[in-house]
């Protein structure tokens, strides 16, 4: 199985989860209040009270077959708003 890590702006979380649901993921885990830096932007903790919002980190464990479908769904969001997506191997305990 695969593990997919998505990191992107908290404010896109609802849209992102919706598009994951459309790809029929078996489940997901969300961590909010995440900060970080990408090639262009710094996301700091004070962005939580200003309107910008911090980042969210979403983890999905799923079959490899699903990845293409997920990719098709989340790529527009990542391209528009920024964010990263990485895949690694994972096997159930």
């Amino acid at each position: 199985m695969k593990r997919l890590d998505l990191i992107f702006g908290e404010r896109e979380l609802d849209a992102m989860l919706e598009s994951l649901e459309k790809a029929q993921v078996p489940g997901y885990t969300v961590m909010k209040h995440v900060t970080g830096r990408g090639p262009e932007r710094v996301v700091s903790e004070d962005m939580e009270f200003t309107g910008l919002g911090a980042n969210a980190h979403v983890i999905i464990f799923c079959e490899e077959e699903l990845l293409q479908k997920i990719k098709k769904n989340v790529e527009p969001l990542l391209n528009y708003y920024g964010g990263v997506a990485y895949v690694s191997e994972a096997t159930p305990l």
């Binding site: 702006g9 404010r11 209040h33 262009e40 932007r41 710094v42 700091s44 903790e45 004070d46 962005m47 939580e48 009270f49 200003t50 309107g51 910008l52 919002g53 911090a54 527009p76 528009y80 708003y81 920024g82």
Partner: protein
């Protein structure tokens, strides 16, 4: 005279706590107010400002100078972004220009309440209905900013990013802080005729307010000082803009206030609404609809420079201006 006003302003608890926060960053103290505590104070302040404003609005009614003042305030929040946009386009692209323009057309609630505290400290009267102006200046500036993007954006902008009007209004009116402020204003307005309820709200929305304001300004001091380095990256044009624009807007504001015939207290608040810039509602809206704009630009100018400038020097400076142009006898 302004120097003495500045000194009097600087020696009040809200501004002193603001300094305590900034100094903490400069001396590299590890004082921090972890998320989401600042959000608690920010939500509380918006709720309390709105509620108290609603009460006052009910008391004062919609007669007299209320409608003209609020109308003029809305006009200013439509006009100021256009002026800013023209200036900003000298150096910046459409997206950044529109986002920053919207921020300066909109308002900062904390600057407003610091100005209120300043007036109370100076024993100068002002009216509660000014909060209605505050509440109604957030959305128009956002709308102007987004329309500027919609119509001035280069043709090459991806189809997918074209905004629909519906979306623009949604972001402008329903973003969390604008919604809470206006909603609390309406609730205050509806509650004003129930004196028992008003009195029971008073310890929370009234008595606690000043202290909570100080606590929040402590955090704002930290946040503002942390923004300074990224301001340096933004370059001298934006640094100049973040100081000069509030001054220009204040000057426009005081002329309008004089034309409206506002007393000195209301005039100062009007001027402060014009001169302050938003770091809550506008960034939220821009982040969602104009991701091309660099958020560090509109956050570091508004939060890192314009906000502290207004809090510390701007308010007493504008008071001096008001005192000069609007004689107390008026």
């Amino acid at each position: 005279m302004e120097t003495s006003l500045i000194l009097q302003n600087v020696l009040t608890p809200p501004v002193l706590f603001f300094f305590l926060g900034t100094i903490a960053v400069f001396v590299r103290s590890d004082l921090e107010i972890p998320a989401p505590l600042p959000k608690l104070f920010s939500l509380y302040l918006l709720l309390a400002i709105g509620f108290k404003g609603g009460l006052e609005l009910q008391r004062s009614g919609l007669g007299g100078l209320v409608i003209p003042t609020v109308g003029a305030a809305v006009c200013m929040s439509l006009l100021i972004p256009l002026i800013c946009f023209v200036i900003l386009r000298l150096k910046l692209n459409v997206f950044n220009s529109a986002a920053i323009a919207a921020a300066y057309g909109s308002i900062s609630a904390v600057t407003f309440i610091t100005a209120e505290s300043f007036l109370e400290n100076q024993n100068i009267d002002f009216d509660g209905f000014m909060v209605a102006a505050l509440a109604l200046m957030e959305s128009p500036a956002i709308i102007v900013g987004l329309l500027l993007v919609k119509f001035a954006a280069p043709r090459s902008r991806a189809q997918s990013k074209r905004m629909r009007l519906r979306e623009i209004f949604h972001e402008a009116i329903l973003n969390g802080s604008a919604y809470l402020l206006v909603g609390s204003l309406v609730i205050g307005f509806m509650t004003a005729n129930n004196p028992a309820a008003v009195e029971k709200m008073q310890p929370f929305t009234g008595k606690l307010f000043y202290g909570a304001e100080c606590f929040f300004l402590l955090d704002m001091g930290i946040v503002a000082a942390q923004r300074l380095p990224s301001l340096k990256k933004a370059g001298s044009f934006l640094i100049g803009f973040a100081i000069a624009m509030p001054l220009l807007n204040a000057f426009l504001g005081v002329l309008v206030a004089k034309a409206l015939g506002l007393g000195p207290g209301n005039a100062l608040l009007f001027v402060v609404l014009c001169a302050s810039a938003s770091y809550l509602a506008v960034p939220a809206a821009m982040r969602m609809t104009v991701p091309e704009a660099k958020s560090s630009y509109y956050i570091s100018t508004t939060l890192g420079l314009t906000f502290p400038f207004n809090i510390v020097i701007g308010i007493p400076l504008y008071m001096g201006l008001v005192n000069k142009l609007i004689p107390l006898a008026a």
